[in-house]
C-alpha cells in the first residue's frame, strides 16, 4: 500500500500545480452535517459514508467527497468567476469489497464560471490530462446532458418524462420504465384491477399515516392518465437505445449523434454543446481523434453530474478504481444554492493511485 507521507507529498505537488493553473486553495471540514448529504443523495449515501453523531449537533458524516462543502462555501461567499483547489482525505464505507480503500486522498480542481461552459469543461479535462500524461492512462468521456435532452424530447407525457429523468442514474430502473411505457412489460394485475374500479377510494380501511387521501387520489388520477396515454412508439425506444449505444472516438460519436438528432431534434442543442466542447478541447491541444466518448458513461457512479463527465483509467490495472474523475454539476449548485445556481465543472485526482500505477510504491 502507498505510504502516507509519499501520498501527501504528491498531493502537495498536484495542488501547487492547480494553484499555478489559477486556482485558489481552500479547506473544508471533515465532519459534515448529515442532513445536507442525505437530502442530496438519499439513503444510498449511508452505504457509502461513515455516519457519526453527538447529542448536540445530531448526525454528522465523515466527508465522502469535497464537492458539496466546496459548492456550499462558494454559494455562501464566493466571488465569480472562481477556481478552487483542495487536497485532503475522504472516507468511504466499503462493505462489499475489502480491497477498496475506506480512506484516501483526493486533490481537486473546480471551476465556477458562467461565461463559456465548453471552455471550462475543456480547461478541466486538459489540465487533468496534462497532469496525468506520464501515467499513460485511458480517458473515457460522456455527456449526461445528451441523454437528458433525449428524454425531454420523447413523444410522450410529461409525467413519463419526469419519471425517466428521475431514474437516469439508475439504468435498470430506467430500462424498466421504458419497457413499461412502451407496453413491453404488461400492466401489473393489481394496477389493472385498481383502474377497473369505478370508485377505488371507497374502502373500509382506516386512514392512517401522513400520506393523505388527496395524495392517494391524485396518484390514481395520474395512473388513469398514464393508462389512457398511448404507449411510447417503438421508434422512440429505438432512438434512445441507439443513443445509449454510441461509443466511439469523439468526432465519430458526434457524427453518430447528429444522425440521431435528425429523427430526434430535441437533442440538437446538446449535440451542439458537445461540438463546442470538442472544439474547445482541440484548441487546448487535446487529441480529440483519440478520445473515447460513451453516451452511457457516468450513469451508475456519479449521480450529481448532469453534463460532461470524464474518468482516467489505468488500462493494465482493471482492479483499480479510476485514478481521476470529474464532470459538470450545474444542478447540484441549484439544489445547494437555495434558488441561486452557477454552472460548475471540476474533478479529483487520487495521488495514492497515481503512485500505485507508477509502481513507485
Amino acid at each position: 500500500m502507498p505510504h502516507k507521507a509519499e501520498i501527501r507529498a504528491r498531493a502537495s505537488q498536484l495542488r501547487a500545480a492547480f494553484e499555478t493553473a489559477g486556482a485558489h486553495p481552500v479547506e473544508t471540514s471533515v465532519l459534515l452535517p448529515a442532513e445536507v448529504l442525505l437530502d442530496l443523495y438519499g439513503e444510498d449515501i449511508r452505504a457509502r459514508a461513515y455516519v457519526t453523531s453527538d447529542s448536540l449537533r445530531g448526525e454528522q458524516m465523515l466527508r465522502p467527497d469535497f464537492t458539496v462543502p466546496v459548492v456550499q462555501m462558494h454559494m455562501d461567499h464566493g466571488a465569480e468567476p472562481a477556481r478552487y483547489t483542495y487536497s485532503g482525505e475522504v472516507f468511504r464505507r466499503q462493505e462489499d469489497d475489502s480491497d477498496r480503500a475506506n480512506e484516501y486522498t483526493q486533490v481537486g480542481y473546480e471551476v465556477f464560471d458562467r461565461e463559456n461552459p465548453a471552455a471550462a469543461d475543456a480547461e478541466v479535462f486538459a489540465l487533468f490530462q496534462k497532469t496525468l500524461t506520464p501515467l499513460n492512462l485511458r480517458a473515457a468521456t460522456g455527456d449526461i446532458g445528451v441523454l437528458k435532452a433525449a428524454v425531454l424530447g420523447l413523444e410522450t407525457t410529461d409525467a413519463r418524462k419526469r419519471a425517466l429523468l428521475r431514474h437516469i442514474w439508475r439504468p435498470r430502473r430506467f430500462r424498466a420504465l421504458m419497457d413499461r411505457f412502451s407496453g413491453v412489460t404488461p400492466v401489473p394485475p393489481s394496477r389493472a384491477a385498481l383502474l377497473a374500479q369505478d370508485t377505488p377510494m371507497a374502502h373500509e380501511f382506516p386512514v392512517i399515516g401522513m400520506r393523505t387521501t388527496e395524495e392517494i387520489s391524485a396518484r390514481i388520477d395520474a395512473l388513469k392518465d398514464d393508462a389512457a396515454a398511448a404507449p411510447l412508439a417503438e421508434g422512440q425506444v429505438a432512438l434512445i437505445d441507439a443513443l445509449l449505444g454510441v461509443r466511439e472516438a469523439m468526432p465519430f460519436a458526434l457524427e453518430h449523434l447528429r444522425d440521431i438528432a435528425v429523427d430526434m431534434p430535441a437533442i440538437t442543442e446538446a449535440v451542439f454543446r458537445l461540438k463546442d466542447r470538442m472544439d474547445a478541447l482541440a484548441a487546448l491541444g487535446v487529441d480529440v481523434e483519440a478520445l473515447d466518448f460513451e453516451a452511457n458513461y457516468g450513469r451508475t457512479q456519479m449521480e450529481y453530474y448532469d453534463g460532461f463527465v470524464f474518468g482516467f483509467y489505468a488500462a493494465d490495472r482493471p482492479d483499480l478504481p479510476p485514478v481521476a474523475t470529474g464532470g459538470r454539476y450545474d444542478a447540484l449548485t441549484r439544489v445547494l444554492g437555495q434558488g441561486r445556481s452557477i454552472p460548475a465543472v471540476g474533478g479529483v485526482i487520487r495521488p495514492g493511485l497515481m503512485l500505485e500505477v507508477e509502481g513507485a510504491l
Binding site: G42, A163, R170, L194, G209, M210, R211, A218
Partner: protein, 232 residues
C-alpha cells in the same frame, strides 16, 4: 481445545435448536439453573455449547470465537459484510421462518408493488418536503433491496421495536420488518407489497470460516457433521 457451538440462549429458538440436534442424536442441554448460561453436549466428543443472544452470534462467528452457530439468515446478512466469506451455511434447520418484508398502509389502494412505492415516494417528497420514511431495524438489508429495485426518494428511520405502530404514530409512512404470519401487520392496518419480500430467513447452522482449529478439532467437527447428517 474444543469445537464451540453457539446457540440462542432463550425461548423457542433455543428449544427448537435443542430438538433439532436431539433428533440427530446430539443432546444439548442447559446445565444448572435456568438462569445460568452454560450448557452440556452429549452424544459427540469435543464439542462445547455456548449460549448467546441470537443477535450476537453473527459477530462471534465473524470473530472466530465460536466455530459453529445457530442464528437467522437475516441477522447474518444484516450484520456481516461479504458474509459468504466469513461464514458457511451448513444446514437450514426448518424453523424460525421469518420474512423481511416491506409493508404500507391498507388505505394506500394505489400502492401494491415497489414500482408504486417509488412513484408514491417521489410525489410524497415533492408534497411534504422530506423523503418518505420507512421504519426498520434492518438498515443494510432494506437499503440494498430498495437500491437493487431502483426505489428512490425514501429514507430509513430506525425502529428497534413496535415498528408496525410507527405509521399510525406518524413517525414513518411505511415499514420494513420481519414477519412470520402477518398477524401484526393486519392488526396495524398494513399490507405487504406484492414484490416486497427482501429476504426469506430461517434458523440456520453456520460454520465460521476463520475460527482457529487444531487437528483434533477438525476430527471433532467432522464427527459432529457426520452425526448430524450434513455435508461440510
Amino acid at each position: 481445545m474444543t469445537i464451540k457451538l453457539g446457540v440462542p440462549s432463550k425461548g423457542r429458538l433455543m428449544e427448537k435448536t435443542f430438538d433439532w440436534f436431539g433428533a440427530r442424536g446430539v443432546s444439548l442441554s442447559r446445565s444448572g439453573s435456568d438462569r445460568e448460561y452454560a450448557g452440556a453436549v452429549e452424544g459427540v466428543e469435543g464439542v462445547e455449547l455456548v449460549l448467546l443472544s441470537a443477535g450476537e452470534i453473527p459477530r462471534e462467528l465473524s470473530a472466530g470465537r465460536i466455530h459453529l452457530g445457530v442464528t437467522g439468515t437475516d441477522l447474518i446478512r444484516e450484520k456481516l459484510g461479504q458474509w459468504e466469506q466469513q461464514v458457511e451455511e451448513l444446514a437450514l434447520l426448518g424453523f424460525g421462518q421469518a420474512d423481511l418484508i416491506i409493508a404500507v398502509p391498507n388505505c394506500w389502494v394505489d400502492v401494491d408493488t415497489l414500482d408504486d412505492l417509488d412513484a408514491a415516494a417521489s410525489a410524497f417528497r415533492a408534497k411534504h418536503g422530506f423523503r418518505l420514511r420507512i421504519a426498520t431495524k434492518y438498515h443494510r438489508l432494506v437499503r440494498e433491496f430498495l437500491r437493487d429495485n431502483g426505489v428512490a426518494d425514501y429514507q430509513l428511520v430506525d425502529s428497534q421495536g413496535a415498528t408496525e405502530g410507527t405509521v399510525k404514530n406518524l413517525t414513518a409512512e411505511a415499514v420494513a420488518d420481519i414477519t412470520s404470519t402477518g398477524e401484526t401487520l393486519r392488526a396495524n392496518h398494513l399490507k405487504l407489497l406484492a414484490d416486497g419480500m427482501a429476504l426469506a430467513s430461517q434458523a440456520t447452522l453456520f460454520r465460521a470460516r476463520k475460527a482457529p482449529m487444531t487437528a483434533q478439532d477438525r476430527l471433532a467437527l467432522k464427527a459432529l457433521v457426520t452425526k448430524l447428517g450434513i455435508a461440510a
